[in-house]
Every structure is written in C-alpha cells, then in structure tokens.
C-alpha cells in the first residue's frame, strides 16, 4: 500500500474515532429504579438507587432528595461498613454531577456484602435532623476477587521473571 493510501486510511480511522466519540460522550442519565424513605428529624428523605438490589462492587448512582428540594438545606452523610466500621468523618452531601437538582453519589460501589448503614444529617429551615438507612448489600457478582487479582497481577510476575533472568545473567559489581 502506498504512502498516500496509508495516510488516507489513518485519517479515516482518526475520523471514525473522533466522529463517534461525540455519541459515546453522551453521559448516561440517572435512572432511579428503586427508592427507600428515611426520616431525618423533621425532613423526609427519599433515597434513590439506579440498580436494585445492590450488590457488592457493582457501582450505581445514589440520589438523596429531601421533601421540598435541596435549595435551602445542607447536610452530611456517613457510611458504615458491615460490622460497624464507620467512615472517619461524615462527608458533606453534594449534588449529583449528572442530576444537579438532588444530592447523590455517582457511580459508587460498596465493596463489601452485608448491612451498610447510611447516616444522614440534614440542616434546613426546620432545624437539624438525623436519620439512618440500613441497606442490605448482596454478594458480589463475577469471579472471586482472589482470581481477579491473580489475573491482573500477571504483568507483575512477568516483570519479576524478567528481573530474575537478568539477575542470573549479569555479574554483581562490588565496589562503589
């Protein structure tokens, strides 16, 4: 193939790549398929999930919507893993980056199965209130993590093998 044809083919590939990138860049909307209710003092809070049931390691969008909206309110969220290990300090409730009229967590995965505790503190015109949601998280789908890690660390073992080969074939220098 001549140089001209090669250049044309390469330009075609680049064109296809960037031409289709626009479609791929259309970010998924937040689709809530299940909701739970939490009462945080005077505030009723609707917790939305983009997948249900929630499984360990499977990421999803969470939405947190107090009655009357988030405009005049602020708050914090603290996550506790199964077994009672709480996050060091509560994080502020923030707007969901793809659904800015509600609070949320985007593409977040809970790593362990079991009962997670979501503790909400909401501050607003009616004062402050705290509420808790106990969320059951099922076992992770897919292969066991040990196997996944074994597959993923093959390059590391390859690197070690390379080092061992080089080590055995080179002499060791002694003085500085």
């Amino acid at each position: 193939m001549g140089v001209k044809k090669t250049v044309v083919a390469l330009l075609g590939v680049v064109g296809l790549l960037f031409g289709t990138a626009g479609t791929a860049l259309a970010y998924e909307p937040v689709n809530v398929v299940h909701t739970e209710q939490v009462q945080a003092g005077p505030y009723a809070l609707t917790v939305g999930f983009s997948t249900w049931p929630v499984k360990a390691l499977q990421s999803l969008d969470f939405t947190f919507v107090p009655d009357g909206g988030i405009a005049d309110k602020s708050g914090t969220l603290s996550l506790a893993r199964p077994g009672g290990r709480r996050s060091v300090e509560p994080d502020p409730l923030v707007r969901h980056p793809r659904k800015l009229d509600v609070w949320g967590l985007d593409i977040t995965a809970l790593p362990d199965p079991g009962e997670w505790k979501f503790t909400f503190t909401v501050d607003g015109p009616d004062g402050s209130g705290t509420g808790e949601l106990v969320l059951p998280v099922q076992e992770q789908p897919g292969p066991p993590m040990g196997l996944s890690w074994a597959v993923s660390t093959v390059p590391l073992f390859g690197l070690v093998a390379l080092i061992v080969i080089a080590w055995r074939r080179t002499r060791e220098d002694t003085s500085v």
Binding site: S59, P97, W149, I165
Partner: protein, 375 residues
C-alpha cells in the same frame, strides 16, 4: 520466546538500523502521554466525575500505549528484516537483539519489553471493558483490571528505561534515561495505590510501597550513570513533572468540563490528585544518596553497604514525611502515632531493600550494553 541466545548478527557500527533516536523518542513520548492521561483522568474523576470509554484523558492513555507499542513493533520488524538481509544490527538501538518465537523475530531487548507492555495493555483493556460491563463504571484506581493496565504501562516504561540505558554514554542518552526513570517513578506512585488492598492494621501500605519504589528508582539512576548526578537527575525530573502536572491536571480538567458543559463537583478539594501523591521530599532523598555515594567512593565502601544505608535513610525519609505532606496539603491532621511510627519503620526496612535492589538493577541496566563512559 528464546532469551538464551542472540542469533542476530551484532556488529559495532556507526549506522543504526533503524535510527535509534526517533523510535526511542516515540517510546518515551508514548509513556509521557500515558502519564499525562493518567493524571488528567484522576483529576477528572475527582473534580467532575462522569465516565465513558471515550473521554479525552482515556484517549491520551490509550494513544500513549499505542505510540510506544507501534514504535516498538516497527523497530522489531526493521531489526528482523535487517538481520535476515544480513545487514549489521546496531546494539545501541534498544540493546542486544534476542530471538523471539524461535528465529522468527530478532527483537532488541528494550523494545521487546516495551512492546510486550503495550500488547499486555491491549489485553487488559479488554479485561477492563468486561469488568465495567459487569460492575459498572466505578471510578476507582485499585480495581483488578486497572492495576493490570497500570502494570502493563509500567512494563512499557521499564522497556523505555532499557532503551535509553543502552545509550547512556551519550549526553542525550543519559538525560533521557534519567527522565524515563522519573516517568516510571511518577507513574508507579499511582500503581502503589493498589497496595491499599492489603490491610496491615494501622500501617499505611501505600506509603510503605512508595518508600520502596522511590528509593529503588532513584538509586537505580545513581547506579546507572555511575557518576555524580544520577540520583539528583531523577529527582529533579520528578520535581519538574510534579510541578507541570500540578498546574496541568486541574487546568485541563476545568477546560474539558467547560467544553462538555459539565459543572465541577461541589466541595472540590483543589489539590491535584497525582502530583500530591508524589513525595515532595525526593530532592532531599536524592541529595542524601548523592552524598553517600561520594563518601562511599572516598572510603572505598561496597555497593551493598551503600545501597543498604542510602535505601534505609531514603525509605525512612519518604515514609516519615508522608503524613506531614498530607497534612500540609489536605489539612486532615495526623493519623495515630503508632501508625506513623510503624509506617516509618517499615519504610526504613523496605527502603533498605529498595536501595539494595536499586544498586543491583542499575548494574543490570549497565550490563545491557557495557559502554565506555564519559564520551
């Protein structure tokens, strides 16, 4: 793959097959693209969020491996063609050529490694795609396929170091060898996050891993050049990368978010993710290592003693100063004293091991093509 014997006809010649500088530039340039894509991607997830396969930071990451991989493949094919045609093959282009798949290919060892890393990246890209299909687009670094991808790029970066180690007798070769080590070190700070999966009480396994890697690579730089400036050169290049990315990562993220009409997250911390991971005490560590090297030479010490002492001090400095750096940048306070002390002691031990290995690995790089120094 047969690494036992070189069947390529190797001859010292002034002619290069192919021209070494161009291919080497592509391999190193590819690794820099990968590193730039990574720092941008980390910042994107931290400050903006949404993920797809075709974000610009992802495209930089992919194209980095593509550049390095294609350049490596071209060198291997040209070397194979040269060998088959009976033309001399210059061993300063990527190192001694080794036979691959019997006698099918003659591959300069540096380009062979960088090419294997790029090919591995492709395979782990498929694994990552499958993973995201099953688990969703979780924006975590320490997922198994992400670590597989990062390790693949690391192998390409090791190949780049080997390519330049062969030409270290030339000024540009020495400078680029140190820069390629700095790129490897900077990139490895992210791979080290995978160590967070190992739970050892209140010890910070990521910091311990960083202590080991920093000392290992800086001592390698010192040993590779075997003259003053190797350790410091790596540390200065790391500092330059840290400075550039400190500005670039948030800037590129803001510009890209604006262009796609996405807002920044609420409560953006304002500290660039990857540059903040990099130890800021590395220049100090390098000065200590250079000093110890001078003392070692004066007193005729053994390389092992030098590696052990330099590594231990360097590892201790990196591990002990990490909480100080984190508190300065994020203002989160300090972890428990027992955790700080335990991590610092582990940093000293792993640093000593890193120093010993750094000396040996640097020596191994020198053996790739023993050349007359100081030209």
């Amino acid at each position: 793959m047969d690494l036992t014997a070189s069947r390529a006809s190797v001859a010292a010649t002034t002619r290069t097959v192919p021209r070494g500088v161009t291919a080497a530039s592509f391999v190193l340039g590819g690794t820099v693209l990968s590193l730039t894509g990574l720092t941008w991607d980390i910042q994107w997830h931290s400050d903006v969020g949404p993920d797809t396969f075709f974000t610009l930071p992802h495209l930089l990451l992919y194209s980095g491996s593509a550049f390095s991989g294609i350049a490596s493949l071209v060198v291997v094919l040209l070397t194979t063609a040269a060998q088959r045609a009976g033309r001399p093959v210059d061993p300063t282009v990527g190192g001694r050529a080794v036979a691959v798949f019997g006698r099918t290919f003659a591959a300069p060892v540096g380009y062979l490694i960088s090419g294997i890393g790029a090919a591995s990246f492709l395979i782990y890209g498929l694994w990552d795609q499958w993973w995201h299909g099953l688990y969703g687009f979780d924006a975590v670094i320490a997922s198994p396929p992400h670590i597989g991808l990062l390790l693949s790029i690391t192998i390409t970066m090791v190949g780049a170091v080997m390519v330049f180690a062969v030409v270290r007798s030339r000024t540009w070769g020495a400078a680029w060898a140190l820069i390629s080590l700095a790129v490897l070190l900077t990139f490895s700070t992210v791979t080290a996050i995978g160590l967070s999966q190992i739970d050892v009480g209140n010890l910070n396994t990521v910091t311990i891993g960083l202590s080991f890697l920093c000392v290992l690579i800086v001592v390698m730089g010192a040993r590779l050049l075997d003259r003053p400036g190797g350790a410091l050169g790596v540390a200065v290049a790391v500092a330059v990368l840290q400075g550039v990315y400190w500005w670039f990562s948030p800037w590129a993220t803001r510009v890209y978010a604006d262009s796609t009409g996405l807002p920044l997250r609420d409560y953006v911390v304002g500290v660039p993710g990857l540059p903040a991971l990099m130890p800021m005490c590395l220049l100090l560590v390098a000065v200590v290592i250079e000093g110890l090297l001078v003392l070692g030479r004066r007193d005729g010490r053994s390389l092992k003693v030098f590696g052990l002492v330099a590594g231990a001090i360097g590892g201790l400095l990196v591990a002990a100063l990490a909480p100080v750096q984190n508190n300065l940048l994020y203002g989160n306070g300090f972890p428990q004293v027992s955790g700080i002390v335990g991590t610092a002691v582990a940093g000293l031990v792993f640093g000593a091991a890193g120093g010993l290995l750094g000396v040996r690995f640097g020596g191994m790089l020198r053996h790739l093509a023993p050349v007359r120094e100081g030209r």
